[in-house]
Symmetry: C2
Subunit: 194 residues, 2 copies
Amino acid sequence: MRSDALANQRKIVEAATRLMAEQGLEAELTDIAQEAGVGVATVYRCVGNRDQVIETIARDVVGQMAASFDEAEAGDGGVDGLRALTERLHGIVATYGWVHAALIGGRLHAELRSEMRAVDPLRRFERLYARARATGRLRDDIEPEAAAALILGSLAPWSARALQARGDARAVAEAVLAPFLTHADTDRDTEADR
Amino acid sequence: MRSDALANQRKIVEAATRLMAEQGLEAELTDIAQEAGVGVATVYRCVGNRDQVIETIARDVVGQMAASFDEAEAGDGGVDGLRALTERLHGIVATYGWVHAALIGGRLHAELRSEMRAVDPLRRFERLYARARATGRLRDDIEPEAAAALILGSLAPWSARALQARGDARAVAEAVLAPFLTHADTDRDTEADR
DNA sequence: CAGTAACCGGAATTCCGGTTACGGTTCGCC
DNA sequence: GGCGAACCGTAACCGGAATTCCGGTTACTG
């Protein structure tokens, strides 16, 4: 592949990501091409048809999410790992906006769908949460399943946007996890911030 | 309008709601007509074109949400009101599935969009939360804004589904609010459950 | 119970966005 | 610097979903 074609490929994927992040997966191909500053045909040559464009982006998101979970699972299993994971996930949705939401509900090719399902964020987060709770810095009166649903719920576009308005990814993760920390721990953190 | 036409209108809206709840807003008109047991033209006569079908459903959702908030604001402002609101909201998303999520991100007519924005769930929930916190049964180390984002985040389709799997709307609301109650209060509730 | 206006279902049509074909342009190796 | 292959943008094509049209049917009124 010639270097200009490669550059176009990158431009197109970036443009598509940007557009789909705000409009959802149904962004039009002509718009994507325009946003990338190329013609429609170039999209077909450099990335493929509409489905393949979506698939490319989907793979990006799924890959990044999976990697974040892998990393967290490889860590020491403490609360800090959970915080880092939350932070990374919020970083991802900040970039991909509506894409990750659409991926879960939309119609995807069976193959990609199963790949997505394999990540199974709720379950994996739940396990990580349970593991971290054993360190004693998380409240023990809340079930990991409910905690996972709440924390990952904060990735919903409307919540994520509201939270992002208040600070950087680190601050967001902090705010999201706070309700689950033991009082002693939140006190410590609060003091540390000052 | 003749009585059979009125009956059809109801059937169509219900069918569209059911279909869109699981498939998203892009459900096809022919499928909707079939699900309702009528011809396509009947959809146009009784409800209108595709956009108007969506608008009708959207109005339902927005109306129910707004009513829920109105009711909560008219209440005594305690934690129980918050719990009831959360319960109602989860009931709504259980019925409308992907519709409410799509409404926020999708392309809507400016008019309806602003109507939706007028409900402004995050802000209204935040105020209710702040008010309820004054009663002393909610933790005071969590900001209302963050709490609102987390609690309303639980309405995200993936979280809502996971939570619903564990029990009825009341149990869901309970689980969602638990992290925000003071310890004394959660203890009391936990004991009451047994 | 008959007349009529409103209603119905399904076929025909329009419309719109994805896809492809084609003539001009640019990269990169010599 | 020139040549060929690979690349580009535009405009025409195509399929499928939205919308409309039409002949038959059904609910209300007197």
